[in-house]
């Protein structure tokens, strides 16, 4: 079992992270995985009908990492994943900035699809992050995540 969890305080490139992680993983797992599913969440310039100029992502240091590791490990166990990677931004973001990367590796595609989606939904309901949006005429806390 392998799981890598990271909280990033500055901008990151999900596809470069994914490529680097996969290269490292190939030393161990080349030929064993047939399926890689990944999800990238990106900041949009609109939300619930309003223009959004910027966003601040707060979190609960310590608990965040613990919760993310717990849910990724739960997914690894449940779907017999070969590896999983979760990277999540915090701090000040602008539209088009990456927010989150979830990637999983498994022998077969069903497990990869299921696990990647499950990790994202579990992250959205359990990991202690909070979004504060800057609008053209003020700011607001995002009250609730929509269902996926």
């Amino acid at each position: 079992m392998a799981v890598r969890i990271e909280i990033r305080e500055h901008g990151f490139e999900p596809l470069a992270e994914l490529a680097a992680h996969q290269q490292a993983l190939d030393a161990r797992l080349a030929g064993r995985y047939g399926a890689t599913a990944s999800f990238i969440g990106t900041m949009r310039d609109h939300n619930e009908g309003d223009d959004v100029r910027g966003m601040r992502l707060e979190h609960y240091p310590g608990m965040t990492e613990r919760e993310l590791a717990r849910l990724a490990e739960e997914a690894v166990e449940r779907w017999s994943l070969l590896d999983a990677l979760v990277i999540h931004r915090v701090g000040e973001l602008l539209p088009n900035d990456p927010i989150v990367l979830v990637a999983v590796w498994s022998a077969h595609r069903g497990a990869a699809f299921d696990a990647c989606r499950w990790i994202m939904e579990a992250l959205k309901s359990r990991a202690p992050f909070w979004k504060h949006e800057t609008l053209p005429d003020g700011s607001r806390w995002v009250a609730k995540n929509t269902t996926g």
Binding site: V100, K124, F129
Partner: protein, 78 residues
């Protein structure tokens, strides 16, 4: 007995007007009792989540000296 450390996050921190607080650790308390002792004028907002030492807990869970107790609104990451 070490104190209980209390943390507030996000909109709840703004509502309470501070990020952290302390309670004496030698007094047996539940999560809900810790809230009302610290914020007697503010009923616990509905949907508030609580964690003790980074683990989600119910409002009836016991808090002990040395614990870190956190209150926060529904999470909105991802």
């Amino acid at each position: 007995m070490p104190a209980i450390r209390i943390l507030y996050f996000a909109s709840l921190r703004e509502r309470v007007g501070r990020a952290s607080a302390e309670l004496p650790g030698d007094d047996p308390l539940t999560v809900a009792e810790a809230w009302s002792r610290l914020n007697p004028a503010l009923p616990l907002p509905p949907n508030t989540l609580a964690a003790i030492n980074h683990e989600y807990v119910d409002l009836g869970a016991p808090v002990r000296g040395g614990d870190e107790l956190a209150f926060f609104p529904p999470v909105t990451g991802g």
